[in-house]
């Protein structure tokens, strides 16, 4: 089984691409650079496909399949090996990362064709693929952390790709630092796990954790603390409250980057970590509740901001934050496979939406403000159609990918024992907002009258290399959820069944199945009812958008004017950035500068040091006068000296205990 024993090939291929382009690509023509980059990623995708084929031939007891390569860090009893592992969860992630990643590489050839630094872009993009694959393949928390920090680096480099713009380099720096705050928690989580279980390798660690007694709700034992710390890392990487602030700014990066890193793959890493650590989380109900609440709150919170944004990419950014919230909500109520399911369908439709938005921006010559768009549907037909598919998918239109995954999450949330109805209500209301802001985006961009100068902007459809990935992703956005579709007609959920060896057959439906046919039927009819409710909610969102932007254009502005305060608050994203700046960043810089550096260091410590030096000089200056040349004063000094010497000699005899030196 060649690839399964040589799993390292999958991440190494893009790393080679990154190194080759990074070191040599500067002088190469674009064609060579993209051949290297797209080729290496494509090969990696093929290797991943072969890996899946071989994986499906494994016997159940061979899973998880762990391969140890070399010892990376070791000290005392601690060992972190460069070990990779494959199980069903890895397979899903592997397919999403290499598949979507490859499509976005192809798209980027067209999108970045006219940009400077072409080789640099593809080098970074390949580097990202390497780290992301390490992240999903790692067999212990330390190797996972390599990918975790590494994708952060790639993200930093790509957000700041246009480094001449201050806003871009600011955004890159912010992304890295905010993620580091999360990583602080992640690292402490690892330390605590090692202290508790003596290993950070997934297989033995989870084997040791599984038989433990779960903490009670409200009790923060070791496992709960570790889970909360890991989740802190996840809030950074996956842009959840309170660390989501970097993601909207990350839109400074080129659009393919937003699609790949800040929508489809990297930002889902936090969800992946929670799902990967599900054995621990299921022992920590408090942590689970925290995950669910943060997820639901973020889903709702980000969706409200998305309502009023005018930058097409910003809408999608807040939408991503919101959808990630859904995934955490799923994990928090124990529906891990539903969370991963949504992770996958979201990767399809959100990558599609971003790439389509990129195609719009490309067509408009760089314009991103929807207020200066409109009426594009006829001019860029393919972009419009594919984007519409993505919108239908995210809004939860029946039979589209997002419909199945979102429904699974809402149903699980409803069934949850702690606060299920509130979580469900938040999720459902977010779904309404989602449908609204997505159709608002469609209407503002593609419908109505053009609001730009048609003599200056020559709207043109994108090249085939960009449209082909859009088409493929559009098909996936429609069909991507069908694995779970039979469940709607009372059949099996193939997706959940595939992941069942990882997550167990848990979840509400399995529970109902175990409870007998009657309960199963009841649960099923409940699920159908709720699906109906969700569809009507989405429809309502669509209709409101239709009313406000197509039937009665101008109404939206009047509403905005009538609730000026609310509108400005939303437009300014609840002023969270400003609050962070005023409460944390500003004071820290001020204290460091004025108190620590200028007062403590320069004036205080160094002042004392220099003071001693000056004192010594001054003393020397005084003592110099003792040597006056006056014989009589010398005689006095001689006498004083003699007395001191005599005292010194006889002192030990008087008090023998004083001397320290024998």
């Amino acid at each position: 089984m060649p690839i399964l024993t040589h799993l390292w090939i999958i991440p190494l291929l893009p790393l080679l691409g990154a190194a080759i382009n990074g070191l040599l690509g500067a002088k190469w023509p674009n064609r060579t650079v993209s051949a290297v980059a797209v080729g290496s990623t494509g090969l990696s995708f093929l290797a991943a496909l072969e890996c899946v084929r071989e994986f499906l031939l494994l016997r159940p007891e061979q899973i998880p399949w762990v391969q140890q390569y070399f010892t990376w860090i070791t000290a005392g009893t601690f060992r972190a090996g460069f070990d990779l592992q494959v199980d069903q969860l890895t397979i899903v992630m592997l397919m999403v990362v290499t598949g979507v990643g490859w499509l976005i590489h192809i798209y980027s050839m067209g999108y970045m064709g006219h940009e400077g630094g072409y080789y640099r872009f593809f080098s970074y993009l390949n580097l990202f693929m390497f780290f992301m694959l390490i992240l999903v393949l790692g067999a212990n928390y330390v190797v996972l952390f390599v990918g975790w920090e590494g994708v952060g680096l790639a993200s930093y480099l790509l957000i700041g790709f246009y480094f001449l713009k201050k806003s871009a380099s600011d955004a890159g720096k912010k992304a890295f630092i905010v993620n580091r705050i999360g990583d602080f928690g992640f690292m402490l989580g690892m330390f605590l796990l090692y202290r508790t279980f003596g290993t950070l390798d997934f297989v033995p660690l989870f084997a040791k954790a599984a038989p433990l007694h779960a903490d009670a709700l409200g009790q923060v034992g070791v496992v709960t603390a570790a889970c909360l710390l890991l989740f802190m890392g996840a809030t950074g990487k996956s842009a959840q409250i309170p660390l989501y602030v970097w993601l909207p700014d990350a839109m400074e990066g080129p659009t393919p980057v937003s699609a790949l890193i800040h929508a489809a793959t990297m930002v889902t890493a936090g969800v992946y970590v929670v799902a990967r650590s599900h054995v621990l989380f299921t022992h920590a109900p408090t942590a689970m509740l925290a995950v669910a609440v943060v997820g639901a709150a973020t889903a709702l919170f980000a969706a409200t901001i998305g309502l009023v944004q005018t930058d097409i990419k910003k809408v999608l950014a807040y939408s991503t934050v919101s959808q990630l919230g859904y995934m955490f909500l799923a994990c928090g109520v124990g529906a891990f496979s539903a969370g991963i399911f949504h992770l996958m369908t979201h990767a399809f439709f959100k990558a599609l939406l971003f790439l389509a938005a990129g195609s719009v921006i490309h067509a408009m010559g760089g314009e991103q403000d929807m207020r200066r768009m409109g009426g594009l549907s006829g001019k860029i037909r393919w972009t419009y159609l594919t984007m519409l598919m993505g919108t239908l998918a995210i809004a939860g239109a029946p039979l589209f990918a997002g419909f199945f995954s979102k429904d699974a999450i809402l149903f699980s949330a409803f069934q949850s024992e702690t606060g299920g109805h509130i979580l469900y209500a938040a999720g459902l209301f977010s779904a309404l907002l989602t449908a609204f802001y997505m159709f608002r985006l469609i209407f503002l961009t593609f419908h109505g009258q053009p609001r730009f100068d048609e003599h200056h902007v020559h709207v043109h459809e994108s090249p085939k290399s960009m449209l082909a990935p859009l088409a493929i992703l559009a098909v996936l956005s429609i069909t991507g959820g069908w694995m779970a579709a039979p469940a709607f007609w009372g059949g099996p959920d193939h997706f959940a069944a595939f992941l069942a060896p990882v997550f167990g057959a848990g979840g509400a439906e399995a529970g109902a199945e175990a409870a007998g046919p009657a309960a199963e039927a009841a649960a099923h009819s409940l699920e159908l009812t709720m699906a109906g409710v969700a569809v009507f909610t989405a429809l309502a969102g669509f209709l409101i958008a239709f009313w406000l932007y197509i039937r009665k254009p101008g109404t939206a502005d009047r509403i905005a004017n009538s609730v000026q305060g609310v509108y400005t608050t939303l437009l300014n994203k609840y002023y969270v950035d400003e609050i962070y700046a005023a409460l944390i960043v500003g004071p820290l810089a001020w204290i460091s500068d004025n108190v620590l550096w200028r007062s403590v260091d320069a004036a205080g410590i160094d002042g004392a040091v220099n003071g001693v030096a000056q004192g010594t000089t001054a003393l020397g200056d005084r003592l110099r006068r003792v040597q006056s040349g006056n014989t009589r004063s010398y005689a006095v000094w001689v006498v004083i000296g003699a007395i001191v010497v005599i005292l010194a000699i006889f002192w030990p005899l008087l008090k023998p205990a004083v001397g320290m030196v024998p």
């Binding site: 070399f70 070791t74 005392g76 890295f176 003596g198 040091v609």
Partner: protein, 531 residues
Amino acid sequence: MAGGHLLTILTFLPALGALGLLLLRGEDQEWIRRLALAVSVAEFGLSLLLIPAVPLGSAGYHLEEFRAWIASPPIHYHLGVDGISLFLVILTTFLTPISILASWKSIQHRVKEFFVMLLLLEVGVVGVFLSLDLFLFFLFWEVMLLPMYFLIGIWGHERRIYAAVKFVLYTMAGSILMLVGIVWLYTITGTFDLPAIQKMLQAGLVVLSPRAELLLFAAFFLAFAIKVPLFPLHTWLPDAHVEAPTAGSVILAGVLLKMGTYGMIRFCLPLFPDASRRAAPLVAALAIIGIIYGALVALVQPNLKKLVAYSSVSHLGFVVLGIFAFNTISMQGAVYQMLNHGISTGALFLLVGMLYDRRHTFEIAEYGGLATPMPRLAAFFLFAALSSLGLPLLNGFVGEYLILLGTYQRHWNWAVWAALGVILSACYLLWSYQRVFFGEVTHGKNRELPDASAREKWILAAMAVVILWMGIGSPMFTQRFAASCQNVLDQMQRNQAQEAAAPPAPGISNAPVAASVPGAPHISVERLGNR
């Protein structure tokens, strides 16, 4: 060949080279540089011979040379190398040729004297790491001081005299205390020989009263703490760095600071274990303050070189914390971090020096947008910065991770505070990087600056290779000193066990808390890195 005298040759070869330089005429600058480089490269090659001489899993001293030197008091010429000093010596011999190359163009004034000083400095540093006689150690400790004084005082920048005097006075204040300690220890034990003293203390032939032990500990510790430098004894460092020429900064940050932490491991812990334990909470507090304080002050520096200098205060705080957590994992992390810091901060100082060579300023505000005229230098700078902020797969991560992981096992609250440094290092490095390299070029002078020359590229490539190598292949290093680190902790442990005749104290074990894990505190070599 050299066999029995390798350590002597290693110690004095640079002195011989310096003598050779003195024979050259001052005008033959090209030959002076070449000879200095040749000597330092030969020295580096020789030092690599130490690696096979220190077998895996062996804790003791190797290649020992023991010769009577002064009859009364009995001072011996006693050299030896173990896992801990091994890589510190190699770090020194690696950074010296790098520094010589870095000074190739920038030193045009009194060239001969400059390289003589650089080589004499190497004698002092290598001697410090190899000495096993306290008096000899002290001698080298002082020998190292003079060349550094001249390097800063003659070839430094505007306020060089102030900085040089401050450096010497600070260090002298500490070394005088250490001298008192050494003499006092001699009066108690009758010898200056480190292994002999160690044995006496362990065997209980000499028992120090708690008060005497604490005072002795303090005398040694203060000298080392100034050198590290530990907060609040650090204010000589920013001045010395800013004023020193590039080569001086590289050696100062790369190696000289490590003499302090090396001294703590070599002397404070094994000789005065109880005092070390008593002082540990205070030392750890100062180390943690240093980590956070150094990082915050670095954050607001308008001067790029000072920023890197303050970052050293922060990074060395990690090392001291790792040592005083008395845990195998953190101790190995500390030793590894000493090497890492030498490489990454050395690289940062080299890069800052290259910027200075072009613009003659360290002010961040004078730069901006440099990635456009000099993309290669920008790439190297980012690489060094990432190594310094502890990105996994680069060297800095391994050391910091082990220190924090090990410290957490015994004092989770220490590790939590220290881990804040991980966030802050990203802040000050990325922020300064942005201000220097990103954006449009704002100063006309910067528009035409040349990118890295061939010489600079070779220097930086060498540093980059080491950074990557140490980040990926850490067991190649850590396994060589694992046994020596464990030995230091065992020496502390045995002392305590003997006094109290108690079962293994909770103190030094590195075993995780869970009882289900076999808590063998010793290194099992066979299962590591044998693939």
